[in-house]
Symmetry: none
Subunit: 239 residues, 4 copies
DNA sequence: CATGAATGAGGTTTCATTCAT
DNA sequence: CATGAATGAAACCTCATTCAT
């Protein structure tokens, strides 16, 4: 891999090695031209560490690298070069796993959604009382959001056409809407339009979290949670 | 005559854009290349309209063109070339008025902010009763938002680091917070934390609007407004 | 919607070169657009010669092209476009090997320095007598300089802040200073300040060469050399 | 340092100009478009200070501004915009006095040459003894050079095609050559080739000054001068 | 599975110069 | 004498993607 380019040597020191003289090569090639990598005695070449990994692991490694970089510098500002450097693979490898840079963002979204939803539903599932379920939902959502802010942002913000935020959170809101409907059906609370209420409550929660993150409210996390819970109960006529 | 310091980047001070004596020149209008001005029948070319305009008008024209294009294709997808073509001026003229493409986006934000705030405050100012003022605020905000969605999106979405949305809306939320505080002070309603309540109410309003735009709720605009108003009143213990 | 901080330049993080999803792309060789490679008869298109070369060769080819063009038209007047055209590669390839146009000039300097120094020291090394060594140094330097004038000029003239010429020649002068000191130590000649004497002798040599090149003196190369040698000996009290 | 060809257009004269008929004026022009100048209260307009100056003064002011900027940032890196800003005039005014940016550099060269030569000849003229005249010449040249380094550099370095340095200093060297010849004619010293000796001595002086400026020699100005004088005398067989 | 040299369209920005007022 | 809005060619540099090995 005769890299004489001035670009910084990619993070991982364990180098990848290009192996051979290609057969149909131009007569010009005078030497082995192995670049600066041939640090070992060329007479006793290292038996080429295996560079391969199970596909799933490699894919995850790439996804991890991408997520970190997207978070740190934004999607558009992150080049595929940077991702592969961070993952310690060659450029082509990236395209072995993702059709495009955008495709890797979508993969990240899937990963996020799956985990986020899972966490909420698991929390809710532990309760039977409707009021408890509501509290659990709100709590899990707020915590999850606060914990994953950076990822959430990058994953849902950086896409054009900047789909309405609501749309992105469709599944999560649906979950809340069902909860609200369920509670209403059993008389736990009253609501005119479960779906729209869910939308607004979720948005309120989101906004409170954003404010907390932005440092615009002096409240700590638990106080924030308390405020959101109170807000919800009031909307649903609980308190 | 070697240079002892081997790798130091020598100060590279040449201008990057023109390397040769320009000689015969740019300003020379030799052909029909009059840019986008030639809107009239090319068979009867105008005898050289003066191309200058008062600076303010030119600036506005550029801003208008930029806003339209940003709305239609997004900020990043809009090239300065496109903007100047739409405005009917040369590329350099753009940079006469804005330091960079990004700077033009900022100018757009300023314009938007000014108008949006103005509209809300004007609507509120027409009422004295606190409840009416609240309703007016909500109504004006929702309508304003629904009317200006496209601009709003482009103007506030395309910036990194995607500052918390809440932050961007700081001024507007502040306005709502003051309103809520004012009402609370006179006993028009009760609230524990005017600021956080404002944040959440504004977010809820925003979310409802987004849902309406995204077509996720079957309600029309007035029904949406009614729902939001009801939501607000409930939160403030009014109804 | 409004953004409270009015004028702050928002971090502008989008990549500057590609704004839309690239989709089907550049690398795709769809047409005959094979760049400057198609040197063979276009009627019988080569079945896609491999375009890759060992990095070192490509780098050298680029450097050669750059040197020639810099010499012919000057650094600033040479565009990267011209360089890559001359080297028969795409624009991006240039930036694969050099971080910037300036960086390629630096690479050229390195190349020149290496060769120039080598030549002088090799010539000197063939002698043991101090006087012979001095003559050899002067001769090699003058010849080398006269032979490489064009390269020398471009390589050391085009940089700002036009570091004192002396500085650029630091290594070479150092070599001369050591020689003078060595001779003085063994009583071959006398000198008050070896370093400053080296500086002045080297400058005198340089000046004589410049005059010869500029055609300001009617002497041929050997006469010029003789004059410089005589000058030096006189300064060192040899003749 | 003088450039022998005084007024010659540096490079082929570039054609220019265009002329068009103004024709009818658009109705769009609404104001006088006075730009940012109208800083005073428009209701009580300042009675327009006269902005005009005698041509010679304005020209000098522009030249001063240009010299300072060229010195600080280099010729190419200095824009006409910067010059006019520094001189406090409008862009067009610059072109009223200089045909191009390059022309202003040439004007600067003339100014420099005139002053430098004058200073040396005046110093020499005060002596009659040949040895004193030589000393005076060297002293004045070294001092003048050390005092005017920055200007000298910018004025003689930034032009393409980087004429041999020797050529630029033609007049000054000629002056030295005549001095050496004169002394030789009267038997004050001996020399084989006055012209070449002058070249080399001047170069040595130049080199010593450069080294001093670059901080490569620990000597102060008077020590440097002493060394150069000693060097010269040795070359001419004086000491 | 993996590599990495090569591509090249596309973008932003600069600034010398003109000319109508 | 002076202005300054407008021009527009031309430069540098980026990076998503391909494909021969």
């Amino acid at each position: 891999m005769p890299n004489s380019s001035p670009k910084a040597e990619p993070t991982p020191p364990w180098p990848k090695h290009r192996k051979t003289e290609p057969g149909a090569c131009s007569g010009l090639r005078v030497g082995p031209a192995q670049g600066a990598h041939a640090q070992a005695n060329p007479c006793f070449p290292m038996p080429d560490l295996p560079r391969t990994k199970p596909a799933a692991l490699r894919r995850d490694a790439l996804l991890d690298a991408a997520e970190r970089l997207f978070r740190e510098r934004g999607f558009a500002a992150t080049s595929v070069d940077a991702i592969v450097a961070a993952a310690g693979v060659a450029k082509g490898t990236f395209y072995l796993y993702f059709k495009s840079k955008t495709a890797s963002l979508v993969a990240l979204q899937d990963r996020f959604v799956f985990q986020f939803r899972d966490a909420i539903e698991q929390a809710v599932g532990a309760h039977v009382d409707w009021s408890d379920r509501l509290d659990a939902w709100i709590t899990a959502a707020l915590n999850g959001y606060l914990d994953q802010t950076a990822v959430h942002d990058v994953v849902f913000h950086e896409v054009r056409p900047c789909a309405r935020r609501i749309k992105s959170n469709h599944l999560v809101i649906q979950s809340l809407a069902l909860l609200i409907e369920g509670g209403a059906a059993t008389g736990a609370w009253r609501t005119e339009d479960a779906r729209l209420t869910a939308v607004m409550l979720f948005s309120a929660l989101h906004g409170a979290a954003d404010a907390a993150i932005a440092g615009l409210t002096p409240l700590d996390r638990s106080a924030c949670l308390a405020a959101v819970l109170r807000f919800c109960r009031r909307v649903l006529g609980l308190a």
